[in-house]
């Protein structure tokens, strides 16, 4: 399995990285907080850790730590607009249930 980005998401990430002026890629992860168990994290990466796993999608380096990968393997990251709001969205096949707002989930 792998982590992928949609083309829109990849374009955005490239733009944000270029604007930021530094960073080697995008880190996806989970942490155990939130109202229904786990929460997604999305960060810029300035340096990789030894245990990190890297994927490449539409020219963007996607980095995940092995613990997180268990929960988000197969995820496709999309970039969408909802009304005036815009941002990234995890399409995660492992999710069984998520809280109303979708910021946290259980597997």
């Amino acid at each position: 399995m792998a982590i992928t980005l949609t083309e829109t998401a990849a374009n955005r990430v490239e733009k944000f990285l270029a604007n930021r002026g530094k960073g080697i890629g995008l880190r996806l992860g989970v942490k155990t907080t939130g109202c229904s168990g786990m929460a997604y994290t999305l960060e810029f990466v300035d340096e990789m850790q030894a245990e990190d796993i890297a994927f490449e999608s539409h020219g963007v380096k996607v980095i995940v730590d092995p613990k997180s990968l268990v929960y988000i393997d197969g995820t496709e990251l999309d970039f969408t607009k909802e009304g005036l709001n815009e941002g990234f969205k995890f399409n995660n096949p492992n999710v069984k249930d998520e809280c109303g707002c979708g910021e946290s989930f259980t597997v």
């Binding site: 942490k31 109202c35 929460a39 999305l42 960060e43 300035d46 969408t80 005036l84 941002g87 990234f88």
Partner: protein
């Protein structure tokens, strides 16, 4: 599904804990709100894709408040209730407004403030009642806050709001109060030129001297900033408060009128509507000529005249070059004040939509002998910088990003004997700052000292701006010069001042926060805050008015009924007097003033007193006549 933004490494927020922050450019003509998403500063748009919110607030007849384009469209139809450019009145008293004759608003002199700084808060009479500039600005901020929260999908933790570098303490405090009324937490007030410099990342350099050339819709400001050790110091500011992009539109408009007059001999004066139409066409032509060689101005006026002229780029330059030249004189003055020459300038930033015009860019480039920075949208650059600062202050960046500090724009001091100013905190001190100085008594046995806090660079108190006055009492009687009174000035990170005076031997202290220096007391602000919760106040007023009207109607009816029956009981002149009072009350019922109605009711009641007594007597004698004493014993 919540949409996520990319955080800085290790800075991911817990769910529902996003520290959403915004930067707000609260402008004279237009306002904007921006935020940092995925490390990128972006201006937020409204539902129609507009980034700019015209800084116009209208109080509608049905009790609503509308802000922006919709309000702007009503400016000439309903000028008294449609307030534009309210920023010019922030923190000002009636005496500060010099061109009242040209402004359509009804200004009212407010109450004396508690600080006794002999300033009265300025108010505007609208159909929604008396409004202070603070309240009007708060409506603009509310609208921007609403836009930001809708765009970001959550509540803002705070905002950075920009103010002109030359804004004094009163104007800054007024801006903060407006934010508070709008329910916004102010993370910091930031100087507009500093925000522009931040947007260009100039704060990432170690040092340098920069010029910010800001030609807005109606105002021109030039600031010279020096960056050293992460702090922007304002070396000089200058400008022209009556010069902006609108003047260019007006020049084109006049040029078009000349052309039309040449073509047709009989040309009637323009209607207001036509004037507006032509000004809009002029603005469009100006904007078109930024990227094109010629612009066609074509429209049909209401009197049937067809306007069809072509304006070329060289012609635009010809008719507006004198305006461009006019901006260079304040620029030269600022350079002179800062004691700098062209070679000392490391960068020039252009701000304001009007700076898109190529001949302005050329003029700036020619003067400074270097190409100005223009790759950011000049309309948005201040808001973008404010958002970057807000993002840092909200805690979304790593610690190694330096916090940008601001400086005091003007010196702060106090009045000493003979009306002289003793400066305690010099201008351009980095904030926050605290400075103390010792003073002593002037006369033998003096037990009190009056402390007058002033702001400005001049030596005489009368030439500076008075901020506050307070008294230190209970100084033990001593010979002149023996008492030691320590006066401490503290300015917080937002540039707001508090002053403490302490007599050293007894520890007696007096303290003042220079908050209400422009005339709004804490109580008034609290009151406004309360009033702004829902529309309780409006509801109350509406109810009082309705009650008064109902009451008045009932009284008119009963007096009329009585006159119809018993008018023979009073003299003709008395009857006439009552009828006049009824007429007055009837006319007042249509108006919106409950107090006036109630007053007229009282007058009518008073006028009918004799009549009522006469009727009472008449009815009593009617009841008694023809009856003997036995019958009326109860």
């Amino acid at each position: 599904m919540a949409l996520l933004q990319i955080a800085e490494p290790g800075m991911s927020a817990a769910p529902h804990q996003h520290r959403l922050a915004a930067g707000i450019d609260l402008g004279t003509t237009n306002s904007l709100v921006a935020t940092v998403r995925s490390s990128m500063s972006t201006v937020l748009q409204d539902d129609y894709g507009h980034a700019l919110l015209p800084s116009v607030v209208r109080y509608t007849p049905d009790g609503k408040v509308i802000v922006g384009h919709e309000a702007q469209a009503m400016q000439s139809t309903d000028p008294v209730n449609t307030i534009a450019s309210v920023k010019r009145f922030m923190g000002r008293s009636l005496n500060d407004i010099t061109d009242k004759a040209h402004i359509p608003y009804r200004f009212i002199d407010g109450n004396l403030d508690n600080a006794g700084a002999s300033k009265r808060v300025l108010q505007l009479q609208t159909r929604a009642g008396l409004k202070t500039p603070v309240e009007i600005s708060a409506e603009i901020l509310k609208s921007l806050k609403h836009r930001a929260e809708k765009s970001l999908g959550g509540e803002l933790v705070g905002a950075v709001i920009t103010v002109p570098a030359y804004f004094d303490d009163a104007q800054r405090q007024a801006t903060k109060d407006a934010a508070r009324l709008a329910g916004l937490n102010v993370l910091r007030l930031l100087n507009e030129p500093t925000a522009a410099a931040v947007a260009y990342g100039l704060d990432n350099k170690s040092e340098g001297t920069f010029v910010i050339y800001d030609l807005g819709g109606g105002t021109f400001d030039v600031s010279i900033l020096r960056l050293s050790k992460g702090v922007f110091e304002v070396l000089a500011t200058n400008g022209d408060s009556a010069l902006g992009g609108d003047d260019f539109d007006h020049r084109i408009y006049c040029w078009v009128l000349d052309k039309v007059r040449e073509a047709s001999e009989h040309f009637a004066p323009l209607s207001e509507e036509d004037t507006r139409l032509l000004l809009t066409k002029a603005r469009q032509a100006k904007e078109w000529l930024t990227d094109n060689h010629e612009a066609q101005i074509a429209c049909k006026l209401s009197n049937g005249t067809l306007v069809d002229v072509t304006l070329t780029a060289p012609q635009l330059v010809e008719i507006t070059q004198h305006l461009v030249t006019k901006t260079l004189s304040p620029t030269r003055k600022a350079m002179h004040d800062a004691n700098l020459s062209i070679e000392n300038i490391d960068g020039v930033v252009l701000v304001g939509g009007a700076t898109r015009m190529p001949h302005i860019r050329h003029a700036v480039e020619d003067y400074f002998k270097q190409e100005p920075l223009t790759n950011l949208d000049p309309d948005k650059v201040v808001a973008l910088g404010a958002a970057i600062q807000a993002n840092i202050l909200a805690g979304n960046k790593n610690d190694d990003d330096l916090l940008l500090l601001d400086v005091t724009p003007l010196s702060l001091g106090l009045e000493t004997m003979g009306g002289l100013v003793e400066k305690i905190i010099p201008r351009n001190s980095t904030l926050p700052i605290a400075r103390a100085q010792e003073f002593t008594t002037y006369k033998d046995g003096q037990t009190a000292m009056s402390i007058h806090v002033v702001q400005g660079e001049r030596e005489l108190v009368t030439d500076c701006r008075s901020l506050a006055r307070f008294d230190l009492r209970g100084i033990p009687p001593m010979v002149a010069g023996a008492a030691r009174i320590r006066v401490t000035f503290t300015v917080d990170a937002d540039g707001l001042l508090s002053v403490t005076a302490r007599e050293q031997s007894t520890g007696i202290e007096a303290h003042i926060e220079v908050k209400p220096s422009y005339g709004l007391s804490e109580d008034e602000i609290t009151h406004m805050l309360k009033a702004s919760f829902g529309s309780a106040e409006i509801d109350k007023k509406a109810r009082m008015l309705t009650e008064a009207r109902v009451n008045a109607g009932a009284i008119i009816n009963s007096v009329n009924a009585a006159l119809a029956v018993d008018s023979n009981l009073i003299s003709q002149s008395e009857q006439h007097n009552i009828e006049v009072k009824i007429q007055l009350l009837t006319s007042l019922i249509q108006a919106d003033d409950a107090d006036a109605i109630n007053k007229a009711v009282d007058t009518l009641n008073h006028a009918t007193e004799a009549f009522a007594a006469a009727r009472m007597n008449a009815s009593v004698s009617r009841a008694l006549s023809g009856k003997n004493l036995e019958d009326i014993k109860l």
